[in-house]
C-alpha cells in the first residue's frame, strides 16, 4: 500500500509533509478548474441569451414607430373627378388618382411648382416619398364622405419604406447616390420636413392591424394575430378537455396492464416526435384525406392540438399525482362514487397544476412554425379571416415570411414581430408562474 503516494499522503504526518502538500495543491487546483468550467458554461448560456435578446431588441424596437407626413390635402374635384361624372358612375371615386393629391400637397409644402416642366424629376422623387398606402387611405376618406371633395384636410399619410428607413438613420449615406434608393434631394427634403415638424415618427399602429403587403410600410401582422388567436382557441377547446380526460383515465381509473402501458409509452414518445412530422400528418389526414381547406386556421389548430396534447397530459398527470391519497380516501369514505371523488374533489385540487401545464402547452403551440409551413399557412393573406376556415397565417409564420424579404424595413419588422411574439410568450409563462405561486398547495 505504501507504494501509492496518495495513500501515504492520506496516512498523515509520518510521510514527508512537502509531498502531501503538493498533492493537495494539485487537487485543489483541479477543483478550482472544474468549478470554473461550470461557471463558464453557465456564463456561455447566459451570454447567448443576452446576445439573442439584445440583437432582436436592437434590430426591432424601431419597427414600432413609423414615419408619417402631415399634409394639408386638398381634395381637388379636378383631380378626383375631372369629367364631373361621379354622381352617375360610382367607379369614378374608386379609380381616381389619389396619390396625386398627396404628391401635390407635399410639393406645395416644399415650395415646388407642380406646373413647371423643370420640376418633373423632383415630382417623381416626391411621389416616391409617399407610401402607396395613401391611395387606399384617401380613397376610404372620400368614399366614406364624398362631401369632403373640394375641401382641404390635414391628413397623416405614411412615408414610403425607404424614406422611413432614411428618417430613422438606417441608410448608409456614404454610399454613392446612384447605388442607393434614397437620393440626396430626398434626404434634403427629409431634413427640411423633419425640421418643421411635418415629418415625424408616430406609433406604428399598422403593424398590428394591416394584413400581408409587398410594401413594408403597409405590411402588418393583423392577419397573423387573428390566425394565431383562432388556433389558440381551437387548441384550448380541444386539447384541454381531451388531455384532462385522458389523464384522469390513465391516472385514476386505468388498470395496470399492457394496454395502458402502451398508451403511456405512446404519449411519452409523441412528446418527443419532431413537430414537422405532425405537419405531415395534418397535410395527409386533414387536408388531403378529410378535404379541409389548406392554409385554414382550423387545420393549423387541429395539428397544434395533437402536438400539445402530450404536454398537457404529462402536466395533468403530474398534477393529479400530487393530490394526496387521503383526499380520495376521505371522499370515498363518506360515500362518494369513484367518479364523484375524481370530479368533485381531486380535479379541483389539481386545477392550478393543470392550468399551468395548459398555458405552457399553449405557449409552445404559439411559437411553433414548422408544421404550419406544411399545411400551407405560408400564404399571402391580405384580408382578415372571418372564420377559422378562411386562409390565415400565424405569428411565427409571419416572422418567417418577413425574414425572406430583402428590404431594410422588412428586416426591422421581422425583429419587431419577434419582440411581439416573445412578449406574448413571456406574458403566458408569467401567468403560469403566478398561477402556480398563487394556488399551489403543498401537502
Amino acid at each position: 500500500m505504501t507504494d501509492i503516494p496518495f495513500d501515504q499522503a492520506a496516512a498523515g504526518g509520518s510521510a514527508a509533509p512537502t509531498r502531501r502538500d503538493i498533492g493537495i495543491k494539485r487537487r485543489y487546483r483541479a477543483e478550482r478548474r472544474f468549478r470554473l468550467y461550470g461557471l463558464v458554461a453557465i456564463g456561455i448560456g447566459i451570454f447567448f441569451l443576452a446576445a439573442l435578446l439584445f440583437t432582436v431588441i436592437r434590430g426591432g424596437y424601431t419597427a414600432f414607430w413609423q414615419t408619417s407626413i402631415n399634409l394639408p390635402i386638398t381634395f381637388d374635384a379636378a383631380v378626383i373627378d375631372p369629367q364631373g361624372k361621379r354622381d352617375s358612375d360610382p367607379n369614378v371615386l374608386a379609380a381616381a388618382n389619389y396619390p396625386l393629391l398627396a404628391r401635390d400637397a407635399l410639393a406645395a409644402k416644399l415650395g415646388i411648382d407642380v406646373k413647371a416642366p423643370s420640376s418633373r424629376e423632383d415630382l417623381r422623387l416626391l411621389s416616391g416619398m409617399i407610401s402607396q398606402g395613401a391611395r387606399t387611405q384617401l380613397r376610404a376618406m372620400v368614399t366614406d364622405d364624398p362631401s369632403i371633395i373640394g375641401t382641404t384636410r390635414d391628413v397623416w399619410v405614411l412615408a414610403a419604406a425607404d424614406i422611413d428607413s432614411a428618417h430613422k438613420g438606417q441608410i448608409d449615406l456614404s454610399v454613392p447616390e446612384a447605388r442607393r434608393k434614397v437620393k440626396d434631394r430626398q434626404v434634403e427634403w427629409i431634413k427640411q420636413l423633419g425640421a418643421d415638424g411635418t415629418m415625424v415618427e408616430r406609433f406604428n399602429r399598422g403593424l398590428f392591424t394591416f394584413g400581408a403587403s409587398s410594401r413594408p410600410e403597409t405590411a402588418g401582422m393583423g392577419v397573423a394575430l387573428i390566425g394565431s388567436l383562432y388556433m389558440m382557441l381551437i387548441v384550448l377547446v380541444l386539447a384541454l378537455p381531451i388531455g384532462v380526460a385522458a389523464s384522469i383515465y390513465l391516472e385514476e381509473f386505468a388498470p395496470k396492464n399492457r394496454w395502458t402501458d402502451l398508451i403511456e409509452v405512446n404519449i411519452n414518445n409523441l412528446a418527443a416526435v419532431p413537430s414537422i412530422v405532425f405537419g405531415l400528418l395534418g397535410l395527409a389526414v386533414f387536408v388531403n384525406f378529410a378535404g379541409l381547406p389548406r392554409s385554414a386556421s382550423l387545420v393549423g389548430g387541429l395539428v397544434l392540438t395533437l402536438m400539445t396534447l402530450p404536454t398537457i397530459i404529462i402536466a395533468t398527470r403530474a398534477a393529479l399525482k400530487a393530490v394526496p391519497p387521503s383526499i380520495r380516501s376521505g371522499a370515498l369514505g363518506i360515500g362518494a362514487s369513484k367518479m364523484q371523488t375524481v370530479f368533485h374533489h381531486v380535479l379541483p385540487l389539481a386545477a392550478p397544476g393543470i392550468l399551468t401545464g395548459t398555458i405552457i402547452g399553449l405557449a409552445q403551440a404559439l411559437g411553433e412554425t414548422a408544421p404550419l409551413l406544411l399545411i400551407g399557412m405560408v400564404a399571402f393573406v391580405a384580408d382578415y379571416p372571418a372564420t377559422p376556415m378562411d386562409p390565415a397565417t400565424a405569428l411565427p409564420v409571419q416572422i418567417y415570411m418577413w425574414a425572406n424579404e430583402a428590404e431594410r424595413a422588412f428586416v426591422e419588422r421581422t425583429s419587431g414581430a419577434i419582440i411581439i411574439l416573445l412578449l406574448f410568450l413571456a406574458a403566458m409563462n408569467l401567468a403560469a408562474i403566478l398561477l402556480r405561486r398563487r394556488f399551489e398547495r403543498r401537502w
Binding site: 468549478r35 453557465i42 448560456g45 414518445n269 412554425t369 428586416v411 410568450l425
Partner: protein, 489 residues
C-alpha cells in the same frame, strides 16, 4: 335540413329532457324506509345522454356511410360502355357528376329543361353561375347527376328524420322510467368512463395516423422510385414536376440529406453537451440556493424561445458574424459561409443547452445523496466526487438524456431551414452549407402540391425516415432512463 340544424334540434331535445327529468326526479316522494338511488341531476343527465348520444352516433355513421353508398349507386347507374371505357378516370368523372348535381340546384326551370334535353353547353352554363367544372359534361352524366342529387336530398332528409326520431325516443325512454330506484348515476358514470377511455385513445390514434398517413404516401412514392435509389442514392436532385422534364423524375438520394442532418446534429451536440452538462453539475454541486433560483429560470428561458427566433438569430447575426470573422482571420476569403453546418450547429447547440442541463440535473439529483456524502466524507473534493462517483452512477441516465437531446436536434426544422442552406452537398467541411431531411420536407411541400408526383411524395418518405430515426432514439432513451430510475428507487 343541414347537419348543423339537425344537431341543434337534437341538442334542444336533450336540454328539454334534462330539465324535465331533473324536475320529475326532484318531485319523487320517498316513502318511509325508501331512499332515492340517484340525485335529480343524474336523472337529468341520464335523460340528456339518452336523447343526444344515440342520435349523434346515428348521424355520424350515416354521414360517413351514405357518400360511399351513393357513389356506388351512381357508378352502377352509368352505362356499361362508359364504365368499361379504357380511358376511364373514375374519380374525375364522378367529380364532374357531383359538380353537375350540385350545380343543378342553381338553375331555374327553363335552364333545367335545356340541360335535360341536352341542348345546353354545361361548362359555359355553370361558369355563368359561378361554378367551375373540371371537364366537359357528357350527355350520360345528366341523368346520373340528377340521380345523385335525388339520392343526396333523400339521404339528408332521412338522416334528419331518423336522428330526431331517435332523439325523441331516447328522451321518452329517459323520462318514462324515472323512479326512486333507477340507477341513473351508475349509468351516467359508465358513459363518462367510456368518454375518458375514448380520450385516452386519441394518443394512440395520433401515432397510428402518423404512421399510416406517411406509409401510404411513401408506398406511392416507392412505386415510381426504387427503394435502393432512395436509401443509397448519393445525389439529391428532385427537379420540378412542372418543368416539363419529360418523364425524367430526378434523383432522390437520401445520403446527402442524412449526412447533413447527422453532421449538424453532431456539431450542435458537441457544443451543447459540455456546456449543458457543466452547467448542470455546477448548479447541483456548487451553486448557492440563491444563484440556483436565479440562474435556472434564466437558462430555461432559452428553452422557451421559439425555434424560428433562433433561426433568424442564426441568419441575421451569427452567420454573417462567423463569415466576417473567418474572412478576417484567413485574410479575405471566408472559410465559413453565412449558411453553414457550423452556423446551424452552433445556434442549435444554444437551443439545446437547457435541454441537456435540465435533463442532466434531474438525472444527477436522482443519484442517492448517500453516495455523494460518502465520497465527500472519505476526503474527496467535490470535483472528484462528481467525476468518480456521481457521473459513473448517473451515466446510463445521462446517455438516455443525450439520446433524447440528439433526437431533438435531428428533428429540428426552423433553425436549419434558415441557417443550413438548401444545397444538398456531401462534404466534411463544416464551413460549407449542407442541408437536412427537415429542410427538404419543407422545401418539397411549400408551394403548389400534387399528391401524385414523386416530388411531393418524397417528403413523406423523408418524413417516415425521420420518424423512425427519432422514434428509435426516443424509445431507447426512455427505456434507459426508466431502467436507471428504477435502479435507485
Amino acid at each position: 335540413m343541414s347537419v348543423s340544424w339537425v344537431l341543434a334540434a337534437v341538442l334542444i331535445i336533450g336540454a328539454v329532457a334534462f330539465f324535465v327529468a331533473r324536475t320529475r326526479a326532484a318531485r319523487l316522494q320517498p316513502q318511509a324506509g325508501q331512499k332515492q338511488h340517484s340525485l335529480p341531476g343524474y336523472h337529468g343527465s341520464f335523460a340528456l345522454i339518452l336523447a343526444t348520444l344515440p342520435a349523434i352516433i346515428f348521424l355520424a355513421i350515416w354521414k360517413a356511410a351514405s357518400p360511399l353508398y351513393i357513389d356506388g349507386a351512381v357508378w352502377r347507374s352509368l352505362p356499361e360502355q362508359v364504365r368499361s371505357a379504357p380511358d376511364m378516370n373514375r374519380s374525375l368523372t364522378m367529380g364532374t357528376i357531383y359538380a353537375i348535381g350540385d350545380g343543378l340546384r342553381r338553375l331555374d326551370a327553363g335552364e333545367l329543361e335545356q340541360v335535360r334535353s341536352g341542348q345546353a353547353d354545361l361548362k359555359a352554363l355553370f361558369a355563368s353561375k359561378g361554378l367551375a367544372l373540371a371537364s366537359n359534361g357528357e350527355a350520360y352524366m345528366i341523368p346520373a347527376a340528377e340521380a345523385y342529387r335525388g339520392m343526396n336530398d333523400a339521404s339528408s332528409r332521412y338522416s334528419a328524420i331518423g336522428a330526431i326520431l331517435i332523439s325523441l325516443a331516447g328522451a321518452y325512454f329517459g323520462l318514462s322510467g324515472i323512479t326512486l330506484r333507477r340507477r341513473a348515476r351508475n349509468n351516467v358514470e359508465r358513459v363518462m368512463l367510456w368518454a375518458l377511455i375514448a380520450a385516452s385513445t386519441v394518443a394512440i390514434l395520433t401515432t397510428i395516423g402518423i404512421v399510416l398517413s406517411m406509409l401510404f404516401q411513401t408506398l406511392a412514392f416507392f412505386r415510381t422510385v426504387p427503394l435502393a435509389n432512395f436509401f443509397f442514392g448519393t445525389v439529391w436532385d428532385p427537379r420540378f414536376a412542372a418543368a416539363g422534364s419529360g418523364g425524367a423524375t430526378g434523383q432522390f438520394g437520401l445520403i446527402p440529406l442524412l449526412a447533413g442532418t447527422l453532421y449538424i446534429a453532431f456539431v450542435a451536440m458537441l457544443f451543447a453537451v459540455p456546456v449543458g452538462l457543466f452547467a448542470a453539475i455546477y448548479m447541483s454541486e456548487y451553486a448557492s440556493r440563491r444563484m440556483r433560483s436565479v440562474v435556472k429560470p434564466v437558462l430555461e428561458v432559452l428553452a422557451g424561445i421559439p425555434t424560428i427566433v433562433y433561426g433568424i438569430f442564426a441568419l441575421v447575426t451569427v452567420g454573417p458574424l462567423l463569415r466576417d470573422i473567418s474572412a478576417a482571420l484567413a485574410g479575405g476569403q471566408p472559410l465559413i459561409m453565412a449558411q453553414s453546418v457550423l452556423t446551424a450547429g452552433l445556434v442549435m447547440g444554444i437551443m439545446l443547452i437547457p435541454f441537456v442541463s435540465s435533463l442532466s440535473d434531474d438525472i444527477i439529483s436522482a443519484v442517492p445523496r448517500s453516495l455523494h456524502d460518502g465520497s465527500l466524507g472519505l476526503g474527496a473534493t467535490r470535483s472528484e466526487t462528481v467525476r468518480n462517483v456521481i457521473l459513473p452512477a448517473a451515466l446510463p441516465g445521462i446517455v438516455g438524456a443525450l439520446l433524447l437531446t440528439a433526437s431533438r436536434a435531428i428533428g429540428e426544422t426552423m433553425i436549419v431551414v434558415l441557417a443550413a442552406g438548401v444545397a444538398a452537398n456531401l462534404t466534411l467541411n463544416p464551413g460549407e452549407a449542407m442541408t437536412t431531411i427537415t429542410v427538404k420536407i419543407v422545401n418539397q411541400l411549400t408551394g403548389d402540391l400534387e399528391f401524385t408526383s414523386p416530388q411531393t411524395l418524397v417528403a413523406f418518405a423523408l418524413g417516415i425516415t425521420l420518424f423512425v430515426l427519432t422514434l428509435g432514439m426516443n424509445v431507447a432513451a426512455l427505456y434507459i432512463v426508466r431502467k436507471y430510475r428504477e435502479q435507485y428507487e
